[in-house]
């Protein structure tokens, strides 16, 4: 019984949250890797573009709520996301047209584009703060728990409860669907393959008649979808605060690099690698050992390897270790 309790404890506090957090990171990491692979620069505005997309989703959610529209047990935000995606894509395309395009046409070195993206980051950050403010916002509505901890205890008769939030299931489900569609698109459709080709060998892609303008357009459209959905899911699950989104850029970049930058599948798995390591290393294992060890060996301390304040240090360390030992990422192979 104690053993089962210990397993449920880990599921509840490590596995389910990490899977959710990993999905959110994975979407951001695919965004980073796609921009890097096709437009060839590290986009530092990633976090803030996600925050912008989330902001649009929140504004639409409020609007729908004021109209009295809701999805019942599901959060209204799900209805708002498609509209938010459209606005985010329009914003990205404008930024591309007025900012990035100039450097792309002039064939600027990638580091220059990365610097430019930091400028875009500041502007985007400012836009978000002016429109919605820097504060913490919750925009979740609908049914909060799929399974409540108390219900789970009653059902199983165990001491430990397993609570599953509906946002966790929604996050994991939407991520899997979205990523499956994306990989199908990149690997099976002609347009998707032409994006791979453009990323692989730009000059030859041009000689094959692939239109670079179309590739750039489609890249930003996919980026807009990923940023908005990834950001909105994170905001639904936790809360929306522009600064948190800016901070999330570190684990997102770590995930993209761990997966081998330019490799979307690697970025997808990288998201989970980072999320699981962060949560594994910052979880306090005291209760877990109380279940599996005899009473005489019960630990006195919290048995927490790192305080949660250091969770970014975990992704940063993984990043450094990977760059030292496997500079091309842990998932080698096909690019894009």
């Amino acid at each position: 019984m104690d053993f089962l309790n210990a397993i449920i404890l880990l599921l509840n506090y490590i596995f389910v949250p990490a899977l959710t957090y990993g999905s959110q990171l994975a979407l951001g990491a695919i965004f980073v890797t796609l921009i890097y692979g096709i437009l060839r620069f590290a986009n530092f505005a990633t976090g803030d573009m996600m925050s912008l997309g989330t902001m649009f989703a929140i504004l639409f959610t409020w609007y729908f709520q004021s109209l009295g529209i809701s999805l019942g047990v599901l959060p209204t935000a799900l209805l708002a996301i498609p509209f938010a995606i459209i606005l985010t894509i329009i914003y990205m395309l404008c930024v591309d047209k007025f900012v990035f395009k100039f450097y792309r046409v002039n064939k600027s070195p990638p580091v220059q584009l990365a610097m430019v993206s930091i400028g875009v980051m500041f502007v985007t950050q400012a836009v978000v703060r002016i429109v919605i403010g820097p504060g913490d916002r919750r925009f979740f509505d609908g049914k909060k728990f799929l399974i409540k901890a108390s219900e789970f205890k009653e059902m199983t008769g165990l001491n430990e409860g397993l609570a599953i939030k509906s946002t966790q299931i929604i996050t994991i489900f939407i991520t899997l669907v979205l990523v499956s569609i994306l990989f199908w698109f990149l690997n099976k459709t002609k347009t998707g393959k032409s994006m791979k080709a453009y990323s692989d060998n730009e000059d030859l892609a041009l000689l094959s008649g692939i239109d670079p303008k179309r590739i750039v357009l489609i890249t930003w459209i996919i980026a807009g979808i990923l940023a908005t959905i990834g950001g909105a899911l994170y905001g639904l699950d936790k809360s929306f605060k522009p600064f948190t989104y800016f901070n999330n850029m570190l684990p997102i970049f770590a995930a993209a690099i761990v997966g081998g930058i330019g490799n979307p599948f690697g970025a997808f798995l990288g998201g989970y690698v980072i999320a699981f390591s962060e949560i594994f290393l910052t979880y306090a294992y005291k209760k877990f050992f109380m279940y599996i060890l005899p009473e005489s060996l019960e630990p006195d301390s919290l048995l927490q390897l790192l305080s949660t304040d250091y969770k970014f240090a975990v992704s940063f360390s993984i990043l450094v270790i990977v760059l030292l030992y496997r500079p091309s990422g842990i998932f080698k192979g096909k690019v894009l």
Binding site: D200, N201, L204, L206, L207
Partner: protein
């Protein structure tokens, strides 16, 4: 008037000095023409000018009587001109079949049939069709590069040093493939360093020196011309 021709082409890279000076190259369908010459003679430049990769100060490029001097390389692809660069001429991270599909990017119709034709031309590619091109040998990669360029069913095929960096055996094999392509009524224009071997399969050749046409003639004429031999065929 020839099927594909560059007349009196003059130009260079950017605002730099002229690399080719009133240089003329003509190719008919079903003919292999080689551009030869010492290093720095402007061989590749002449070819790039015909492809539209450099802007000409003067001169005309025509295909089938149509003036294409002002067209971009992408638009020239649509006119049926295919180009195999010397390096980075395949999508290394994609499979053989995907490379061929990308070659057919501009085709609206069903390209499956053309892929079958390419496999008949280069049987080894059928066996390796699901393998990443980056994992193939140099000779096989060159076949992929040729196959990709042939997917648009070009009327003109331009090859920039197809045998650079391949072993002598592979070179012979590659020339055999180029001869097979010639039989499909394609005009083939190539720049080559291996002058003797190139001339032995070429119908005609141009020898460029400092960006100007120096000698021209059929393959055997040039091979037997003492001036050509002494100047750069190595006696």
């Amino acid at each position: 008037m020839a099927f594909f021709e560059g007349n009196e082409m003059t130009g260079g890279y950017g605002n730099g000095p002229d690399i080719i000076n009133s240089c003329s190259v003509k190719v008919e369908r079903g003919e292999i023409v080689s551009i030869l010459g010492p290093n720095g003679a402007g061989k590749s430049t002449a070819m790039k000018a015909m492809l539209g990769l450099i802007n000409l100060k003067s001169g005309i490029v025509k295909i089938n009587g149509k003036d294409i001097t002002k067209l971009s390389p992408q638009d020239r692809v649509k006119e049926g001109i295919s180009f195999v660069p010397q390096t980075k001429n395949v999508f290394a991270g994609m499979t053989v079949e995907e490379n061929l599909e990308m070659g057919a990017y501009l085709r609206e119709d069903d390209y499956k049939k053309i892929i079958t034709e390419i496999y008949e031309l280069f049987p080894i590619l059928r066996k390796k069709k699901n393998q990443l091109v980056g994992e193939l040998s140099g000779g096989q990669r060159q076949q992929v590069a040729l196959g990709r360029a042939l997917m648009i069913k070009p009327t003109v095929l331009m090859l920039d040093e197809p045998t650079a960096g391949v072993s002598p055996i592979v070179m012979d094999e590659l020339f055999d493939h180029i001869l097979k392509v010639k039989k499909t009524n394609v005009a083939i224009l190539m720049v080559e360093q291996n002058a003797k071997q190139a001339l032995s399969i070429s119908d005609r050749g141009y020898v460029l020196v400092t960006g100007e046409n120096r000698y021209a003639g059929t393959g055997s004429e040039l091979l037997n011309d003492p001036r050509v031999r002494s100047s750069f065929l190595g006696g």
